[in-house]
Amino acid sequence: MDNDRIDQIIDKHHGEPSYLIQVLLDIQSEHHWLPREALERVAERLQVPLTRIQHIATFYKAFSLVPKGRHEIHICVGTACHVRGAPRVLDAAEELTGIKPGETDLDLKFSLQTVNCLGCCALGPVLEIDGKTHGKMSPGQMADVLKNYE
């Protein structure tokens, strides 16, 4: 991501340090991860220490310091989905992709992440890939869902 684009984002948020999280959210959303150079640029422009940015980038789950896969799989493990069997759905996803939550596979095809509530409890267990929600999931359906993604 080039510095011009980063500067634009910083200026959109008035260059204020209190908007640090909002700036990083915009960079993450456009670029899908936070490269080191981007963090250094933000530190320089907003005049905040890199340790503060480092802490924020690792403290908040929305951010990733490594590139993500083409398809991000989010499995809801909120309480309602949990009692409806989400752990087994998660096991099936781990089995099929070969990765654990927080990881990305070596082909950069899938990233797997657990989320704590998508607010679609009526459809639980819920799985979201690339913005599309799949409801009433069971472990047996996982293979069929995943094979649609290249």
């Binding site: 220490p49 890199l50 340790t51 503060r52 480092q54 802490h55 690792t58 403290f59």
Partner: protein, 200 residues
Amino acid sequence: MSEILLQIDGKEVKAKAGMTLLEAARSVGISIPTLCYHEKLEPFGGCRLCIVELEMKGWSRLVVSCVYPVEKNLVVKTRSEKVDRIRKMIIELQMAHAPDAFDLQDLAKEYGADKNRFEKEPSFCIHCGLCVRYCAEVKKKHAIGFVDRGIRKEISFVPEIAAKECWNCKECFPLCPTEALQAAYVLAGALASFETAPEK
């Protein structure tokens, strides 16, 4: 300067407005154990070892003395059955990380803590935060910070800054109660390829 009168362990204490209970206690020679407190740094309130018991209107509650501001007519007990029990637990929880740290061993003797109560944890950082805070507040270099949260929280050097600044400084080193800091520094140097030991 407004004066605030309160009672600590039966002693009448005259404190200044804005003081914490810990500072007020120390001013009259009453010692309260701490792990994350340092006079040059803003109070952190992380280790909770300095908890004391406040008595008011017939019931008592525990507060953290390094951050609790003095108020008039407070009745404070720095030791009690409950205070001791919780301090013992805190020491035991910390010793799962650093059973050999001298400060923890001394505290364990005082409070009857068992260093083997919990299974050992891989990291011997006890998160007192002294290194991070000293570098940020006193040296203002921000060479080291915290990363992540919860049980995954760790200290982490910023390699570019550490490579430049730490060599001549290392003022945080004596502050670390467990030497996890020194280990982290050497590791950071190895990962980012900067010298951490004196050249011969």
